[in-house]
Assembly symmetry: C2
Homo-oligomer: 548 residues x 2
């Protein structure tokens, strides 16, 4: 038996090595069009930044090491240009010599990954992606040749913000050009505000609602007509599945434009499997086809392809949650499931919970505050999504929420999770537990909340905002028109409040919850501002961004 694998990075190499472990006899041939296989894709930005100092650290395997350990036949700089699924052959071009040859297969694995979108017109500034070892070699060379390098990053997605961080680390002046109003579009607008503060603090020139029109000698022209001097453009405008040879060979694509596979990673052509960024996944929430270009899924699905080819017991692919994490200039952003924006667009009912927990007990040094947002199904109380922005402890809570979602736990059940507590690691009621309590209070009607973006309309309708923080907090910044009535005075002074629907708020929502419970029991019509002053402020910042 002879298996050919097209693509030698995450999905392809996971398939190859697992297949060898399962089947010592099979001939396994890998064709990779780049010069390297099994390199550290996700480490490339950090080599640009000098965080990863040793270039060889990026190169996890070589054709020689893969031959020695796994008896793989690996050809780099070999591009498969055509597939004949009836004849069970591929046409391979040796990129060094230009020669083409035909190779036979019994089983074929498509792991071509994704490809960049259209190029940027013009010349005079190098335009380089951040997708291969060759790319980072080229970027590093440009940076080394400039004394005070000026870089323009096109696209503020995951790779884009990682590029920004690392270019800043290398001392470059960075302009970030983004088509939308905010970076990291899967983040809801108020959750993106801390990221934008980090960009501003680092001196990044952020150009919203803008694209690159063209480059010319030493300068970049933007869609708003402005020009930016630049030694380098890093093209991080996103990617699409590389389906060219697959489509040409009659392999079926799905509604997203990615290769369609079943839950065993089989395409609609017998004998052809596919995994990785070229392939669409099934969404955890709605079961629909979706594109998630994450290394974890690529590795897992590549390995599962090998299981199915070797016909060992396999379990159907788990739907994709889209768990993702990115570091931006000291801020960590975590995402899983759907955003509020996406739920609204899909008309999916949802409840929102914002909290601002600390990474560990505040009485122990070094605790850092994060912003956490849960999206909850109001009918089932199931988690629909979560977003986290902060520093220490974000990755842990994201993983906990990802497992909870995968396991089908309700939001209220988060309160019951028995998580690790010693003061340097967490809190007796962990961030996750507290979010669960908030969700449970909403589910049981113990608390009623109002979202930051609903406050203006409520006030127009006659509601009054009551700030239950301290005098000092109120003076440092308050919601315009709000009445100050500190929580500890509420029982005594609530008679001063107007006979109107009340919106209470504190800094994060916790004192607001106590205030809301007191006022509710005293007969007031009251809602607690979800996430408090911090979320409201981040929302106001988001509104300002949206309005330009």
């Amino acid at each position: 038996m002879r298996t050919i694998i097209i693509g030698g990075v995450a999905a392809g190499m996971s398939a190859a090595t697992r297949l060898r472990r399962l089947d010592e006899q099979r001939e396994i041939v890998v064709f990779e069009r780049g010069s390297y296989v099994s390199f550290a894709n996700c480490g490339l930005p950090y080599y640009v930044g000098g965080v990863i100092e040793d270039r060889s650290a990026l190169l996890l395997q070589t054709p020689a090491s893969l031959a020695a350990r796994f008896a793989l036949e690996v050809h780099v700089q070999h591009e498969v240009v055509a597939i004949d699924s009836a004849a069970k052959t591929v046409t391979v071009r040796d990129l060094a010599s230009g020669a083409e040859r035909v190779e036979e297969f019994d089983d074929l694995v498509l792991a071509m990954g994704a490809t960049v979108t259209d190029g940027i017109p013009g010349e005079g500034v190098p335009v380089i992606s951040l997708r291969s070892v060759e790319d980072v070699d080229a970027i590093t060379e440009v940076l080394a040749g400039a004394t005070a390098p000026r870089a323009v990053v096109a696209g503020g997605g995951f790779i884009g913000v990682e590029a920004v961080e690392n270019l800043v680390t290398r001392g470059a002046h960075v302009t970030l050009v983004q088509r939308g109003a905010q970076v990291l579009s899967p983040l809801d607008p108020e959750m993106a505000s801390p990221v934008h503060r980090a960009l501003t603090d680092a001196g990044v020139d952020f150009r919203a609602r803008t694209t690159i029109e063209r480059v010319d000698a030493g300068r970049v022209t933007l869609s708003d007509g402005t020009e930016v001097a630049a030694d380098l453009v890093v093209d991080a405008r996103g990617v699409r599945p590389d389906v060219r040879i697959a489509a040409a060979a009659g392999v079926g694509l799905g509604p997203t434009g990615g290769i369609a596979v079943d839950d065993r990673h089989r395409t609609d052509v017998p004998g052809i499997w596919a995994a990785g960024d070229a392939v669409e996944k099934t969404d955890h929430l709605d079961g629909q086809a979706t594109l998630v270009t994450m290394a974890g899924l690529a590795n897992r699905h590549g390995r599962a392809v090998a299981d199915d080819i070797a016909r060992v017991a396999t379990i159907p692919a788990t739907p994709a949650l889209g768990t993702s994490i990115v570091g931006v200039l000291g801020v960590t952003v975590g995402l899983v499931g759907w955003s509020e924006r996406r739920l609204v667009a899909a008309g999916h009912a949802h409840r929102v919970v914002h909290t601002h927990p600390f990474s560990h007990a505040t009485y122990y040094p070094g605790a850092e505050q994060m912003a956490m947002k849960l999206l909850v199904d109001p009918e089932t109380d199931l988690l629909l999504g979560a977003q986290l922005v902060g520093r220490a402890g974000v990755d842990k809570r994201l993983d906990v929420l990802a497992v909870a979602m995968a396991a089908g736990l309700t939001a209220s059940a988060l309160s019951q999770l028995e998580l690790a507590y010693a003061p340097q690691y967490g809190s007796a009621k962990d961030a996750i537990n507290m979010a669960g309590y908030v969700a449970e209070n909403l589910a049981t009607g113990t608390d009623r909340t109002i979202q930051w973006h609903e406050v203006d309309a409520a006030r127009v309708a006659g509601a009054v905002v009551v700030d239950v923080r301290t005098n000092g907090e109120h003076e440092a910044g308050a919601i315009p028109g709000s009445i100050l009535l500190p929580l500890d005075d509420l029982r005594e002074r609530h008679g001063e409040l107007p006979d109107a629907p009340l919106i209470v708020h504190c800094k994060v929502g916790q004192r607001g919850h106590t205030a809301s419970r007191i006022l509710q029991q005293l007969g007031h019509d009251v809602r607690n501002l979800d996430g408090g002053w911090l979320t409201w402020s981040d929302g106001v910042d988001a509104d300002l961004r949206e309005k330009g």
Copy 2:
């Protein structure tokens, strides 16, 4: 309605504040025999070490602040000395004046916590626990008065090792006196070895299989007859539920000696609830009564008591997993569920998986290796327990495993979890995913393993150990009598291997797995040494400890 709560720390204060939020009208009275309420119990050792510098950081609330915010009537230095459950009264002693009075209740909450075991005979060295603010004040005073303080810690449990760490931080010479052969008895012996190395590296004088007989002027006499000069003894020998007044009042105790409650935290006396360290919990695995003295459970159950008293919708208490974490001299130890030792003692069938994953991608700086152990039910593939010992990233994996256990995921399903990956946070195949793959390979028979403690017997029965690491690794340390045959030479040279059952091993088990797959397909009878050289070495160290 009048609710009396006995005990004003974790469970008691969670009950009091939640009850107030649910019921504004109720009279809520808290009696605390100590001088402080709601203090940072778990922070006490770190105040001793000076990590928490500000004593006021330990004092989260005061009677005055609790009166202002929650309209609670809190009496410190007031000990409830008797309960009359028929008359619905308690007798309270004002510890300052010695005066006693009788107070009436409608509902009573027992949250007395735990109490230390018997004292240590003799005098001439202060013997101080580590359970209250008064304790740490006393310890700090002794340390401040000695130029090169010598401390003896009695008991190597969680509090004991935290005491050791913090006394070392304060510059004390520390002797640790432990009844058993190892510290942290819930850890299996091979998993305790890294902790013992940390103790040795820090210069701690560890006295195994030893207890304190008595103290005399400036010295401590141990059960083996040796004497240790000491300025201070920290008594961390463990605790038992403080059930004295509860038992005297006819409140039923369970088989563990703790107060028995139902899944609504009700005792067998109507109108009396109980939560916290005085109360027994229900074990997640076998549903039996168990003692778990963790702050997280105390807080959660205290809050649930309030829900039940206020008759809001409550969900039955979730059984206890015993999730716990502790830092010892830079090493983090995490535990959840049952240990191998406990499973063996209970005669519970189990499968063991040892791995040594890194905290994040090794190509990114700062990745730290940990030891991870899973206990798996061979019938159901469900997780029975997990142990982790390492540095960065241990707490995250522990929480993920705790959620997986709570949600009833199988060990194999760990491979399918979609966890956060960017190179500074994790790996494309995260530590958890990899452990899941190992478990799956065992469940499907793709790999067969042997445990470190089974190797000697297997060799006596004729098995041969084959080291598939490199020459250099083998020379730096090898299993006695093992044959070196590096993995990359295996296909070529396997004919050199004797015709005997083979045990292959590498450093951690991963190359061993590949070797085992190759040899299995070549017709050999082969098992892979679970956890590899690292686990085997830690096991040998454990054997040496056990033998003294």
